[in-house]
């Protein structure tokens, strides 16, 4: 991904966000990281980006189980927000859930590139960021 693109993390686990940021730093990835504790907060800010003609993030790492607005609801709303955008933003589900129901549901969203189970290995993180 390009250096000027933002990495968006949406997860209610603050420690996980801290650790991802630390991992990115350790890998020498200096892209701006924007993080949100639920889908609603993320959606609100991404909406503002769009309204202000600011660039949307280059990648989204999305958790499923979050308060207020979960990952699935975020995806539905974000699809509306991003429908006019020609650039398709890659989205990865990063979750602790191993429920088959969640795996299957993720397949119904074409914008999801992969379903990653926590903890995400550094190598995996590197691979998805170097697309």
């Amino acid at each position: 991904m390009k250096e000027n693109e933002k990495i968006c993390i949406i997860d209610d686990d603050e420690i996980y966000i801290f650790l991802i940021k630390k991992s990115l730093s350790a890998m020498g990835i200096n892209n701006e990281v924007i993080s949100y504790l639920n889908g609603s907060d993320a959606l609100e800010e991404l909406m503002q980006f769009k309204n202000n003609n600011q660039e949307l993030p280059g990648i989204i790492l999305l958790d499923i189980n979050m308060p207020i607005m979960d990952g699935w609801e975020f995806l539905t709303e974000f699809r509306k927000l991003n429908s006019t955008n020609t650039k398709k933003i890659p989205i990865y589900i990063v979750s602790s859930s191993i429920a088959n129901e969640d795996f299957e549901k993720s397949k119904t969203f074409p914008e999801i590139l992969d379903y990653l189970s926590k903890p995400v290995e550094l190598e995996t993180l590197e691979t998805i960021l170097n697309f």
Binding site: L19, A26, P67, E73, S96, I98
Partner: protein, 525 residues
């Protein structure tokens, strides 16, 4: 033609044998023997007539015995007697007729009857052949006088085969009747016009037990059922009268109990394969049905438990995995980290993760203990008192937000419940209503109950900020699910509460409208 009347009193043998009229011997109604009036048309002597009689008897296949009235001595027999008794004429002439009668008492009765009536027609008697085999016969006896002595003409008809057949049919009928009467299935046979032709005892008991009516042959099918069922039953019988078998399971509520029956209508065809009626069978399957219902309940329970267990395993896995993966990542960084400051920062995070893990384990343990303590400490609890107790515990929060709480539950309602669970459930719902009170109006929380069948429904209503049920209904009672962004919300209260209600065999429902309020309905079974 003239008839020879065997009951006529003739004065002598000569009178008998010199009768100049046409003779017609009706020795047995089944085989009339005609003798021409020989005197007019030929010159047969009396002697000839006697010879003729002997010839006839020698030829006659009908068993016929002439005996003396005074002592029962056999004087003449027909060929038929030799055949039936399997004995030669010489061996029987001169013997007493009693020797061939198997049932002497019965024969004595017949002779008494003969004395009274002068003749006997087709009385049943059993004779015995030379081999001691009993032969059922019909006997007809006529008297005649010859030379001043009274004789009997005993004509026998062998009915032993017919009798055997009748006995076999009777036995078969008896056996069938025994089965028919002793089966546990009620059977009623109807003709094509739906009138009762026959029924068995269980059918009779069924009618008395379920409809308080006795079954009567010749009555119509519809008269045994309530008016409202008749059209329904007519529709059931219609295809049966067209030759189709119909069956179904139905229950009858009697004294509050469900009595299940398997009812079957089978057409009965005549020899032309046309429906001549139908058989209605009724089998009481209440026990089987009860077992089936219990089995289904168990199956549903097991399925539900399995579903819960799987769901719980996902929750456990998800929550432990989150913390475990964070711990691994922190430890990996700690291993590589050289800066003491950074290490100290990582340790703070590790401590936080371990605290969260501990909290998660505590919560999971609480859920497990709900299932584990299912049958412990059930007590009769006064709902009104417990609500007041919850209000009292949360008095500080209620006052700080100026909440008006109305306990409108009648003070005599009691439920059989675990006290700790009831306390926890009421505190949870009440604290939620306080927590999510609308800042735009005076918060009001009402507690009401409705008694429905054997259950009590408790309604906890507030005029708070409400929740978008269409969005959150599926997740409302999930673990660690929060919806309002409230800092205090941990997403565990409703999850624990629902588990407690479920564990006690009740249920919880929610009705809510954003910015209007929320009502939780708890059913205590």
């Amino acid at each position: 033609m003239k008839s020879l009347h065997l009951n006529k009193q003739y004065s002598s043998d000569d009178d008998l044998f010199q009768n100049k009229s046409d003779l017609q011997l009706k020795l047995d109604q089944q085989i009339p023997i005609c003798l021409d009036d020989l005197s007019n048309e030929s010159d047969f002597s009396i002697q000839n007539h006697e010879q003729l009689l002997h010839s006839i008897l020698n030829f006659l296949p009908v068993p016929l015995i002439i005996t003396r009235q005074k002592n029962g001595q056999i004087v003449m027999i027909s060929q038929g007697v030799e055949n039936i008794l399997q004995i030669k004429k010489a061996a029987i002439i001169g013997n007493n007729i009693d020797e061939i009668i198997a049932d002497k008492t019965e024969f004595s009765k017949i002779l008494l009857l003969l004395d009274a009536k002068g003749k006997i027609q087709n009385e049943e008697i059993c004779i015995r052949n030379v081999h001691g085999v009993n032969i059922s016969c019909l006997v007809s006896i006529e008297t005649f006088i010859s030379n001043g002595e009274c004789f009997y003409i005993n004509a026998f008809t062998n009915i032993s085969e017919k009798k055997l057949l009748e006995d076999a049919i009777q036995n078969s009928e008896d056996n069938l009747r025994t089965v028919f009467e002793n089966t546990e299935v009620g059977y009623i046979l109807f003709d094509q016009f739906q009138y009762i032709v026959s029924y068995n005892r269980p059918a009779s008991l069924f009618a008395i037990k379920e409809f308080n009516k006795e079954i009567h042959i010749g009555t119509n099918f519809s008269t045994y059922f309530p008016e409202i069922m008749r059209e329904y039953l007519t529709n059931i019988i219609a295809p049966v009268l067209k030759g189709k078998i119909t069956s179904f399971e139905r229950f009858i509520i009697h004294n509050g109990e469900h009595h299940w029956y398997y009812v079957k209508f089978s057409p009965v065809f005549n020899k032309d394969y046309l429906v001549a009626g139908f058989i209605m069978s009724m089998e009481n399957i209440t026990d089987r049905k009860k077992n089936e219902i219990e089995l289904n309940k168990s199956l549903n329970l097991v399925t539900e438990q399995n579903k819960k267990l799987l769901n719980f395993s996902y929750i456990v896995s998800h929550n432990l995995r989150s913390h475990a993966s964070n711990m691994i990542s922190i430890l990996n960084f700690l291993e590589k980290e050289k800066s003491e400051n950074e290490k100290a920062g990582l340790l703070i995070h590790l401590k936080k993760v371990s605290q969260l893990l501990n909290e998660t384990l505590y919560n999971l343990n609480e859920v497990v203990s709900i299932q584990k303590n299912l049958n412990t400490t059930l007590e009769r609890l006064n709902l009104f008192d417990y609500i007041n107790q919850a209000i009292s515990v949360l008095n500080k929060e209620i006052n700080s937000k100026n909440v008006l709480v109305n306990n409108q539950v009648p003070n005599d309602i009691t439920i059989n419940y675990n006290p700790a669970y009831l306390e926890s459930i009421l505190l949870n719902f009440l604290s939620n209503s306080i927590k999510y009170a609308s800042p735009e109006r005076l918060p009001i929380i009402n507690f009401n109950t409705i008694q429905k069948n054997n259950a009590i429904e408790l309604f906890i209503s507030d005029n708070g900020i409400g929740i978008d049920i269409s969005k959150y209904h599926d997740r409302l009672f999930g673990m660690y699910k929060t919806f309002h962004g409230n800092k205090d919300a941990r997403g565990i209260g409703l999850f624990i509460t629902k588990n407690q209600i479920d564990a006690m065999g009740g249920k919880v429902e929610v009705f809510s409208e954003v910015n209007v309020g929320t009502t939780f309905k708890i059913t205590f079974s």
